[in-house]
Symmetry: C2
Subunit: 378 residues, 2 copies
């Protein structure tokens, strides 16, 4: 682990603490597809200034640090939170897309895609090498393209909402790997234009007290089954804030309650708290409020009952997605990657490089099966 202390410029005592706290984890599966990388470790937790998901890579001829993507705090009320946070600065509203966060970087001769937790994902890396022009990295060798990976062919967050059959990258931040320093919104736009990246849509630029306009944007996104907004300081000096639509809160709940054995209680409570504050702030009429309550009740009960029915039929509760691989080698590597993640899964190979990935939700399945067989509950 010597190279980590060296890459991060840690003092001896800091390096000792890092070891003691035991927060370093393997970040990749060694494989010719990852030819440029000799070793790589990720931070499972925050350590000092280094965010969870920070990765340190020992390449053939260099050491690289890519910082974890910072947590974005949330506004539960638009008013007065946006004003309080941004003061007199211009606020840019960007669409918050529903996919998974990846940092695309260059190491040696190739691109690599790093997930939120700091793992190098073979599937996403393959897509990045196909879809992303690496010209950008000649000019910005140590930068990260922070993108949302979105579409139906997603191993982590499959979604139909955007009409994307496979997987695409939407750029939302450009950051220096070692410092996590972002470029301004205007620079990001220039970069996207120059190198041909798709941007997460910039919806508006507003004054921080124009809550009426912000509400309109949120309501429109909600109607279109979109996830929400990230509010950004145009200069990227202040940290961003996020805000989600009712559609997103409720579809998160739908997901969590289908796999209630796996997904945390915290997860559930936080979503209904969002709904309550939104309902309070948007001052909806009785009819709209009833609709929200009905949707909420359904988002909770329907997926649970669906899972119970599956177990009743003798099936395991699974999350399914369909992926498309360019190369069979990468598929094999991806299986090893899923094992590294500790995921319990089955893969069915279809035609044309397509595979069906089933993540087995054992905790939910086991609990339901026990109850169906007459077990009591504490």
């Amino acid at each position: 682990m010597n190279f980590i202390a060296q890459a991060l410029n840690l003092s001896k005592s800091a390096a000792g603490r890092l070891e003691e706290r035991n927060i370093l984890r393997k970040a990749f599966v060694r494989h010719p597809f990852f030819a440029d990388i000799e070793e790589a470790f990720r931070f499972e937790k925050k350590f000092g200034q280094y965010e969870e998901g920070t990765i340190v890579i020992k390449a053939k001829d260099s050491l690289k640090v890519f910082r974890g993507f910072p947590k974005i705090r949330r506004a539960l009320l638009l008013d007065p939170t946006i004003k309080k946070h941004f003061g007199d600065r211009e606020v840019v509203l960007e669409e918050k897309m529903n996919g998974y966060n990846v940092r695309i970087v260059k190491v040696g001769d190739n691109l690599y895609a790093i997930t939120r937790r700091g793992l190098i994902c073979p599937y996403t890396t393959e897509k990045a090498r196909t879809l992303i022009d690496d010209e950008f990295f000649r000019d910005y060798p140590d930068y990260m393209l922070c993108c949302e990976a979105v579409g139906r062919a997603s191993p982590y967050v499959p979604t139909d909402v955007y009409g994307i059959e496979t997987l695409e990258f939407f750029l939302f931040d450009v950051r220096e790997g070692k410092t996590n320093q972002p470029v301004t919104i205007d620079e990001k736009k220039e970069i996207a234009e120059k190198y041909g990246f798709r941007l997460a849509e910039i919806l508006e630029t507003v004054s921080s007290d124009d809550v009426a306009r912000i509400k309109e944007v949120v309501e429109k996104l909600n109607k279109n089954r979109r996830e929400g907004v990230v509010f950004k300081d145009r200069e990227m000096v202040l940290n961003p804030l996020k805000y989600t639509t009712s559609y997103a809160n409720q579809s998160d709940l739908r997901y969590a309650f289908r796999f209630f054995g796996e997904y945390g209680r915290d997860f559930m409570l936080s979503r209904v708290i969002r709904e309550a504050f939104q309902s309070f702030e948007f001052e909806e009429g009785e009819e709209d409020f009833n609709q929200r309550c009905l949707r909420l009740g359904r988002a909770i009960l329907e997926p649970m009952i669906e899972s119970i029915r599956e177990c009743k039929r003798g099936e395991m509760v699974c999350e399914e997605s369909e992926l498309v691989f360019e190369s069979p080698d990468v598929l094999e590597l991806f299986k090893l990657h899923m094992k590294l993640l500790g995921v319990d899964f089955r893969i069915e190979v279809l035609d044309g490089g397509r595979v069906k990935l089933k993540r087995i939700m054992r905790s939910t399945s086991d609990r339901i099966r026990g109850i169906l067989q007459g077990s009591t509950w504490r």
Copy 2:
């Protein structure tokens, strides 16, 4: 603490472990109203065979042990759980009432009421001394009357459902204090008749596979806004099981979400899991299912929004109840008791011995206030 080891007949090493694990807590506030008791400690957790809530009392001339009321496991599905648990034995359906569990015992010359956690509650003790004929204890000096304390004038679980303006006791178990051995259902009925105790209603005695009849009982209770059923072995050899109505699940949620800062995530998840299994088992039509979902959504959002509105008006979120004291001394003692419990409260004295008790829910209030002032959320 020597008297505890002596009362429980603990070996030296067991006594050492008890000390080490630090699970003994003060069980009462010393006061002339509790004249018979010199010292009393309760078990905050299970220890060996001793249930959480077990209390050991040093009286003037004796040592007394009253075991904690055993946890009753729950059926999430009636079929096949009841059959699996009770096999060929006769199953007695008792109404599970919505109040708080107290064990009424005699120590020295007086009655004492012990709450679930093992505290001697002055308010409940005062009511027990007024309402319970202590003749029973001449015949059964070391037994406990396990009762549900129910009514509007309840410091812990105030309810209107039973039409009881003050507080009444409903006997559901008679147990030997030291062994926790219950008497049979038939003996309990005889005791209630002989000494004039009100029983928690015995609704039916059924065969363990008569799920259709059990469902009818549950549905009727649900319509009458009742809490649920406790299933008991007529001989009280097997442990009881419990099952709650949708009304109870949802009113629990209503309570928990009003005080979402205080009440555990576990609490919430378990209630919706009950609703899901019940909806699955009762095979309701679409209309009924939608009604259940709407009620569930409302049970979650309405109380949260109510709490937000209260904070918006500058109030603290509180739980209110109205109590009636026979003696001003007991009121003073009750205040000390609430402090021992760590409850943040205000008391307003009304007329005729009545007081208004407000429990202040600081965590919920503080979190909401922060958000109303523009704080962000993790």
